[in-house]
Amino acid sequence: MPTIKNLDDLKRIREEALEKKKLKTASGNVQVVVGMGTCGIAAGARETMKAILDAIEKDNLSGISVTQTGCIGLCEREPIVMVTVGEEPKVTYGKVTPEVARRILKDHVGAGKVVEDHKIAM
């Protein structure tokens, strides 16, 4: 009955993460929120979330918090992703396919350039 077999791995990872935190202080906290109501899920939000998590893993992006929220009443524009970089105002994106999600991470989170063609005016 294999339960969690990698807790030792996690201990090591935690120590490495602490080391890294010491190296780069306050690199600007990034918050990414994915809309995951029934409407979002039906429109492909889980694949969008997966693309974001995969990119964080693959490109080794530290300091990004990814969370979920329910339906925000813009069902026809799902999948919706909201991005807040540091003290900047929140940007809401619509029709965020996995490909668009990767662009948002690269251009907006990585280089500070808002992906204008998917931005929703709130």
Binding site: M1, P2, T3, I4, K5, N6, L7, D9, L10, K11, I13, R14, E16, A17, L18, V34, M36, G37, T38, I41, A42, R46, E47, M49, K50, L53, I56, E57, D59, N60, L61, S62, G63, I64, S65, V66, T67, Q68, G70, C71, I72, G73, C75
Partner: protein, 189 residues
């Protein structure tokens, strides 16, 4: 929704919206009894008997952003067309439990799909909730409990790349190791 794991994600979101602190998910695939079962149990606000009776009606929802709820009715219909059922038990102030069952080999049964992504999305997306995920393959059990993981990390974010990789591998390897052989093609992760 074309995957049972997407429906699972959808129902678990209901639990979070009902302010659950603890959510237990069970997925069981059993080729011996030819049944596929999913159970989602939470300690959220719960519903009264009247609401439970109406909850699988597509024109009932507790949401305020639109007037039609579609998650449970669709899944109920899918289960009933595969020699299965969907049941909702709930008590106000105690919590809610949803059980859904299919005939595993039914030609119309949706594939389970990417179960790992569903569990990872929930664990990462709602870090304030205590998630327990149990997978049973012909009775062989894999349990993922995120509490010891969070304790081990002591405040390091679940979204750090190395942590993400570790969680993803834990979950997908645990499922794969216990999956009945004939079902492997149904579950990419």
């Amino acid at each position: 929704m074309r995957e049972l794991s997407l429906h699972l994600l959808d129902i678990a979101e209901n639990s979070v919206n009902a302010k659950a602190g603890n959510v237990e998910i069970l997925v069981s695939e059993d080729t011996r009894t030819d049944r596929l079962r999913m159970t989602i149990q939470d300690d959220g606000v719960g519903m009264d008997a009247e609401m439970v009776a109406r909850v699988t009606d597509p024109f009932v929802t507790s949401r305020t952003t639109r007037k039609v709820g579609l998650g449970l009715p669709f899944l109920k219909m899918a289960a009933e067309s595969c020699n299965g059922y969907l049941s909702v038990q709930s008590q106000k102030g105690v919590g809610t439990r949803v059980d859904v069952e299919f005939r595993l080999s039914h030609i119309d049964r949706m594939p389970l799909g990417d179960l790992t992504s569903t569990i990872l999305s929930l664990v990462i997306g709602f870090p304030q909730v205590h998630w327990t995920f149990t997978y049973l393959g012909n009775g062989n059990e894999f349990i993922f409990d995120d509490r010891p993981v969070k304790e081990e990390l002591e405040g390091i974010s679940l979204c750090e790349p190395e942590v993400l990789q570790c969680l993803r591998e834990m979950i997908s390897e645990g499922i794969q190791a216990n999956q009945p052989v004939s079902q492997i093609s149904n579950l990419q992760s």
